[in-house]
Point group: C2
Chain length 150, copies 2
DNA sequence: TATTGTTATACTCTATAACTATA
DNA sequence: TATAGTTATAGAGTATAACAATA
């Protein structure tokens, strides 16, 4: 396992990454802020989905998810259909307009990244994406209880 | 260069990393929120520093930096000395208390990372830290003007 | 009684603009 | 006139708590 020092450095770099995410956010269309793009992306990847599951995927509170979803629905980017199996619930799915908005947003950020990271070799981009994915997965997955030292 | 698709995926993973940073933030002491830790860390790395330079390093507006710095000064974690060369300016430096606060905060987040990433090999942590550093550097450094197609 | 989703309220972090005091 | 820093105000994103409808 890495040393305490190494983890501290990693943590610091992760905090520093917020500046990059902020920079990417500036490239987004005004009516599709990063949080909206994240919700669209999650729905697109998963297909029809419930609010509660969506909140779980995004790792944010359902109250927050609800507000983002309302924003998207106002723009006609998603549909909220009643769930025939549970009338408390709603099933969300992307509309054609929503799919277009998502693609547009993705194109914008990809362009910004391509411009700034033009000198990165392919494999570094791949490896980086993979590490980020593993980080998120390792964090958001439920963890076994920490072992006590008995 | 990587494809548009690869960059889009990278962007998505970077957005997803926000969830991890939020999770780490929950492990911070209540009077040392992540933003404060970031400022302490930057001052610690650079030694005595001016406000304007600090804002540049953190890539946030000076008005925001000013508020964070005021927060730290109230707690006795930094000192603000007048700059003998320019009386408009102030020189910031960590106090012993501030150094302690920083170390405490670093220990907390490192512990969280160590717990969640216990199965990561050393080299992955190193490589990941390096990639994050290169990303931030590639983004926050001034860029040459994009070439027009003439 | 518990759960799904919504709304009201508050907190953190950031940006823009107006201000002051020096340069 | 321009620059360093501060403060006031606004906006995006999140969390907690109270609520309505349904299970």
């Amino acid at each position: 396992m890495a040393t305490q020092q190494q983890f501290a450095e990693l943590a610091s770099q992760l905090r520093g990454t917020l500046a990059v995410v902020r920079e990417m956010a500036r490239a987004m269309p005004p009516d599709c802020p990063p949080a909206s793009a994240g919700v669209l992306s999650a729905i697109s990847r998963n297909g029809e989905i419930r609010m509660s599951r969506l909140a779980e995927l995004l790792d944010i509170d359902m109250s927050v998810t609800s507000r983002h979803v309302a924003h998207l629905a106002e723009r006609g980017w998603i549909e909220r259909a009643p769930d025939p199996l549970d009338r408390r619930s709603r099933l969300l799915r992307l509309t054609a307009l929503g799919d277009l908005a998502l693609r547009t947003a993705q194109d914008h950020v990809a362009e910004v990244l391509a411009e700034r990271l033009s000198d990165w070799p392919d494999e570094d981009v791949e490896r980086f994406t993979d590490l980020l994915d593993r980080l998120r997965t390792g964090f958001c997955e439920p963890r076994p209880l920490p072992r006590t030292n008995t």
